[in-house]
Amino acid sequence: MGLDLSYNKYSSVSLEEKERLFEEVKSDMRYQDHALYGCYECGICVAACPSARFYDFSPRVIAQAAAREDADLMYTLMNDSVWDCSQCFSCDRCPRHNSPGTLITIMREVAVRNGLQTARKALEGYGRIIYKIMSTGTQVSPDMLQPNAFPDWGGHVGDIAENLDVWRRALPPETMHTTETSWYVSEKTLIELYLIWHMTGVMDMIKEVDEGLFDILVDVMEERLEEAGYDDVTF
């Protein structure tokens, strides 16, 4: 089904709420830096965009909606379009020096911070990824290579899973003998990372979109932080 830009879908949400969210996008330093200068309507961003080839998705529509300050349309796009973006920044080719990719990054963050239902849905199935990176300091760990997680990658994933421990021990760099993380991250480093999550409001963002994940992360981090002598992890 194509993208519904008729303004009907979210008519039950007040214009004030849509304007509030758009103001949050516009107040972001990245928006003010370089996300949007205007639009020539040349379509170069769309021509370069991989997502535009396979989805009903257009970085130009998003840039123009922002340039026209159409809070209503921006709300629709924030819900139904931004998660299709590949974040490759091919659209930075814009001759007006817009960065639709950056604009979309901001819109996604606003959607997450405000706990929009569509953001929660977009991140369904993504919790283990967030958990892995926030709790271990690395992502895409070797033990993620399981046949049931990547059935479309063929039988070799099964070979890797079967031989994972011994093949990891066959790697010459000693930091890479791990299976649950991509490399060995020291305990001290991990504590520092946890402090960063707490001090920058990232934990609050997680709580907004996935309370269950938030609780698990707090449990994992709390013990380590307390052992390291950090009772107060806020400013």
């Binding site: 991140l123 993620m144 520092e192």
Partner: protein, 393 residues
């Protein structure tokens, strides 16, 4: 009818503008350092000078490098990182493989948006400060980390309130706000070292044709800092990978969708993989095969190797024109210098069959696989716990 002369693009002589359209981050960083706001980590050891997109000079450190590893490389294609380390060792260069390093965590930025600029900057600077404390200069393995750290640098230069916030966070961790004078991607180091690598080449590759896929987050995301030279595509495209392959005697073949991304898409490769597969096969692999018929395709980023390689299995099931081996430039360079295809390049972690390519350059795949299995047997029977650099040659 008036006929105006038309100059074809291939005949154009590319000239750099006298005044680059972007700011010089070197000057901005030094200014901030002068004001006591930041510490700039300099390249202090031997370095090689290269030219970036708008004609500025960039220093690529030769050794004493602090290797900022990549999650996806170390986790799923470990021969990628192993080859980078192997090249350093084979060239007799000093480097550090740190444990005091986290991922750039950009997965939570570009994929799920469950982070924010302050957190991302603090993570980046924590890693930079860790490198600074060792005296080694950071070299970034992942193109996304490379691109993202350039974004972070730009934000820190222009936003005093962000600097203040990050400085306060770093102080709590007992660290300083350190930014390196150059943000260096490992493929820039491979490019800078290409002549030394070619001097030690033991595998002839002059009969090999390869296509090149430059990573989006290397040359599109903050386009400043990427290496360009008139010798490679008249400086119309980045010089990395192609410059290395040229030095190794590989025939680099062009194809029309070279600018397209690989289809990785961050969240897509994990939760919407139908898009990644379709894009990688239809817009990249099939086009490369139809237009250039290469022996392999070479790229320089985690996501690109993963997507281009892993997507071909499903493409084959759909009767698509696939079967093109995918490797990183570090792997090809190591292979040319005689690195073992399984003990060092770890090609058994790759998906698309690469035996025909290996046999074409004279490598006995049955023999080398048996050698790897014999090494692994020593781990299985307990006579060794780990293989070391001494074990892999």
């Amino acid at each position: 009818m008036l006929h105006l002369p038309v100059l074809k693009s291939k005949d154009r002589d590319f000239q750099l503008a006298e005044n680059p359209p972007t700011e010089d981050h070197h000057e901005a960083l030094l200014e901030l350092e002068k004001d006591g706001e930041i510490i700039v980590q300099r390249v202090t050891g031997p370095y090689i000078e290269v030219q970036t997109k708008f004609g500025r000079t960039k220093k690529i450190p030769v050794e004493k490098t602090w290797h900022h590893k990549s999650c996806g490389q170390c986790g799923h294609i470990p021969g990628y990182s192993t080859s980078i380390f192997w090249l350093n060792r084979a060239l007799g260069l000093d480097y550090l493989d740190p444990k005091d390093q986290t991922s750039c965590t950009a997965w939570n930025y570009y994929a799920s948006a469950t982070s924010n600029p302050a957190a991302q900057a603090a993570v980046a600077i924590r890693n930079f400060a860790s490198a600074y404390e060792t005296g080694y200069f950071p070299i970034i393995h992942c193109a996304t980390s490379f691109g993202h750290y350039k974004e972070v640098r730009q934000q820190l230069i222009h936003h005093p309130e962000l600097r203040a916030q990050v400085r306060k966070i770093l102080a709590r961790l007992g660290k300083k706000l350190v930014i390196p004078e150059e943000i260096v991607h490992y493929s820039e180091w491979v490019y800078a070292m290409r002549d030394r690598i070619a001097e030690r080449q033991v595998i002839d590759m002059s009969h090999i044709t390869a296509t090149v896929h430059p990573a989006c987050h290397y040359h599109k995301l903050i386009e400043e800092d990427a290496i360009y030279t008139p010798e490679v595509y008249g400086a119309q495209r980045t010089a990395i990978i192609t410059g290395v392959l040229n030095a190794l005697g590989v025939n680099v073949a062009d194809y029309s969708t070279w600018f397209d991304c690989c289809g990785f898409g961050f969240r897509h490769i994990l939760v919407s993989r139908d898009f990644s597969r379709s894009f990688a096969v239809q817009r990249k692999i099939e086009v490369m095969i139809e237009e250039a018929n290469p022996d392999l395709t070479v790229t320089h980023d985690t996501g690109c190797v993963t997507t281009l390689d892993q997507s071909q299995f499903a493409g084959k099931a759909h009767g698509k024109k696939v079967g093109l081996p995918v490797m990183a430039d570090s792997q090809v360079a190591a292979l040319a210098m005689g690195a073992h295809p399984y003990k060092v390049l770890q090609l058994h972690w790759h998906n698309t069959d690469n035996k025909a390519f290996l046999e074409k350059i004279g490598i006995d795949t049955e023999k080398t696989w048996a050698e790897f299995e014999a090494s692994v047997q020593r781990l299985k029977d307990g006579s060794k716990q780990y293989l070391t650099w001494e074990d892999v040659g």
